[in-house]
């Protein structure tokens, strides 16, 4: 028995080691992930309070107002005052300041952090600012997290549900057989996208309905718009997976590549925590990831009740990614493993 076990054990190890691409990815993915995580969390102690400021970043100094020299507060410049006030009402910002324009501050009277920050502001001296109290219950973490979880699940479903299957078809010669028919690459890829889209959107809808009922999930906006976001998001991620595996013949390499793509997206797109206030480079990088646009749009619809106009840029980016990836996928697509 041991002999047979060792024979299989040895053969599998040889197979793995000789598949160099898989070895590289198996080593590279964890290393790169650790480095990425180290970079994301490289800042020293995270600030205790988040304060939005309606002013250019260069003015966030003690000359503008002594409050800006207070430690352990993260000051975030905001461009849209209305949106920022809404975030204060939902406890996503602890306070909002406009030290040079309206010379006012907005604080949520229901927020303990807002209460402490107001005391600190008043005690810091400087030009007095007028008080603009707002009130509102905080957005529950689960309301914020659910779109992230569903988006992440959708991402892995799209990546592996399509990527693995196509690689297996290629490896076993099924694609070669299809290539012997009049079927074109774009037709094959479109059918794969449509099939996975149907599966993903249906399953996500069922999970969303179940979770909403069970956890009383907040839904302020349009279900139709949310459905469109989910559909475009799924298309863009399936198409992205098809580009990545367009020439891959090994399931292990496909797994490495898809994980390499999926994990950073999971971290940088704000599945678990908001990227607001994090490194500017990372925030910029996150904008090229489809999951970022799915989650931004879904949260805006579900939590803020945003409409078509507000999420239009997300929808455009997702559509463009889907079209570009489908064209690239069809161009790069290889029917045969040895061609």
């Amino acid at each position: 028995m041991i002999r047979r076990f060792l024979a299989i054990f040895r053969a599998r190890n040889i197979e793995f080691v000789r598949d160099r691409s898989s070895v590289i990815w198996n080593l590279a993915v964890p290393v790169l992930l650790v480095l990425a995580m180290a970079w994301i969390f490289s800042e020293e102690a995270r600030p205790v309070f988040k304060v939005g400021v309606v002013a250019p970043e260069r003015e966030l100094d003690s000359e503008t107002h002594p409050f800006f020299s207070t430690r352990h507060i993260q000051f975030i410049t905001v461009a849209d005052e209305t949106l920022a006030i809404r975030k204060v009402t939902r406890h996503q910002l602890d306070m909002l300041l406009d030290p040079t324009g309206k010379r006012a501050y907005w604080v949520n009277t229901d927020s303990p952090k807002g209460y402490i920050l107001e005391k600190m502001l008043l005690g810091s001296g400087g030009t007095p600012l007028s008080r603009a109290p707002v009130s509102g219950e905080p957005v529950r973490y689960i309301d914020w997290l659910l779109p992230g979880i569903l988006g992440m699940n959708m991402m892995f479903s799209c990546f592996f549900g399509v990527g693995f299957i196509v690689v297996r078809y290629r490896k076993t010669g099924f694609l070669k057989r299809l290539n012997a028919t009049p079927l074109r690459a774009v037709e094959f890829l479109s059918a794969q996208i449509a099939s996975r889209l149907l599966i993903t959107v249906t399953s996500m809808s069922l999970v969303f309905a179940g979770m909403s009922t069970l956890l009383d999930i907040r839904m302020e906006g349009s279900y139709l718009l949310l459905f469109v976001v989910a559909a475009l998001g799924a298309i863009s991620m399936i198409a992205l997976a098809l580009v990545v595996i367009s020439r891959v013949n090994s399931e292990e390499l496909a797994s490495g590549l898809l994980n390499f793509l999926g994990w950073p997206m999971m971290l940088l797109s704000g599945v678990w925590f908001s990227m607001e206030g994090s490194n500017q480079v990372l925030q910029a990088a996150s904008q090229i990831l489809p999951l970022t646009h799915i989650l931004e749009a879904a949260r805006a619809i579900m939590i803020d009740g945003s409409g078509w106009a507000h999420v239009a840029s997300n929808l455009i980016v997702l559509s463009a990614m889907g079209v570009i990836c489908l064209i690239a996928g069809a161009y790069l697509f290889q029917w045969r493993s040895e061609a």
């Binding site: 078809y169 010669g173 070669k176 057989r177 299809l178 290539n179 012997a180 028919t181 009049p182």
Partner: protein, 296 residues
């Protein structure tokens, strides 16, 4: 029969990173014949046929279909059975046939294809539960679904038991009767001899013989082979005026006059209990041309 060959291959070459798989192959195939590419593994048969199918691009050379370069309509008009093909998991035979039926504009009558390939009893069976012979019948049916003008069969009976192989030959004969052109690659000389009207024999990427099997044999041989187990044959060579070859534990005696040879064997007291008399085969022809066995 149309005077223009249905397929013409001209000076085909294919190189893979330092290895020449096909080296200047030319032949033409008249419409309605069963054309065989015969040769050992690695001879370049599959590469040649895959270039003809349009699956692989040649390094140089040309393939013409009905006197013109192949265009996008070519794949509508050919059927292919690869040496090994995986099918989509979890589909039944009927679902698999419907899948491929949906890929063509022009289609054959499904019931007719199912009957031709004897799949009636298997329609609801999962692909994965088919035996080797049943699977090859399904793959042949898939290749026939678009009512092809040319049918490519690449080593269709490799790995089948003798009975399944003979059953498959029967199916190919049925298809031949429909006047389809068949391009068959095989390393079974008997298969080529029984099914093909014309053959090319390939070795190391080149053609070493070409023509109808019977003509090729007549051209190279005018003798018959008597085969006797070596232990039954104890005549010193100087007392036996025929060409004798020791092979695989047997003695093969090449003779033009079978009666005279048998009389001589009886005179020499050789037991004829295990005597076999056979005509020359394509295996012999390959051996004659290359000095090596066909099934290598």
């Amino acid at each position: 029969m149309n005077a223009t060959p249905i397929l013409e291959v001209r000076d085909l070459r294919k190189r893979y990173s330092g290895v020449t798989a096909v080296d200047g192959v030319s032949f033409s195939i008249p419409e309605g014949v069963c054309f065989g590419l015969l040769g050992p593994n690695g001879a370049g048969k599959t590469t040649t046929v895959e270039i003809m199918e349009g699956i692989v691009d040649p390094t140089s050379g040309a393939v013409e279909y009905l006197g013109a370069p192949r265009d996008h309509r070519f794949r509508e008009q050919i059927g292919i059975q690869f040496q090994s093909t995986a099918l989509q998991d979890y589909l039944t035979v009927a679902e698999t046939l419907r899948l491929f039926l949906g890929l063509y504009r022009r289609t054959a009558d499904l019931d007719e294809v199912v009957t031709t390939c004897a799949l009636q009893e298997l329609m609801d069976r999962d692909n994965r539960k088919l035996s080797g012979g049943q699977r090859q019948r399904l793959l042949l049916a898939v290749a026939l679904l678009n009512d092809p003008r040319v049918l490519f069969l690449d080593e269709p009976t490799t790995g089948l038991d003798p009975q399944s192989r003979r059953n498959f030959w029967q199916l190919v004969r049925k298809v031949k009767k429909q006047r389809k052109t068949i391009v068959l690659t095989t390393h079974y000389m008997e298969e080529a001899y029984r099914l093909c009207d014309e053959i090319v024999i390939m070795d190391r990427g080149t053609i070493i013989a070409q023509g109808p099997p019977s003509d090729l044999l007549a051209e190279h041989f005018d003798d018959t082979v008597l085969q006797i187990p070596a232990e039954d044959f104890s005549i010193p060579p100087e007392h036996f005026p025929f060409n004798v070859l020791h092979h695989d534990g047997n003695v093969e005696i090449s003779v033009k006059d079978v009666d005279a040879a048998i009389r001589r064997l009886i005179d020499c007291g050789v037991s004829l209990r295990h005597l076999e008399i056979r005509a020359r085969t394509l295996d012999d022809l390959f051996l004659e041309l290359t000095g090596k066995e066909l099934r290598t």
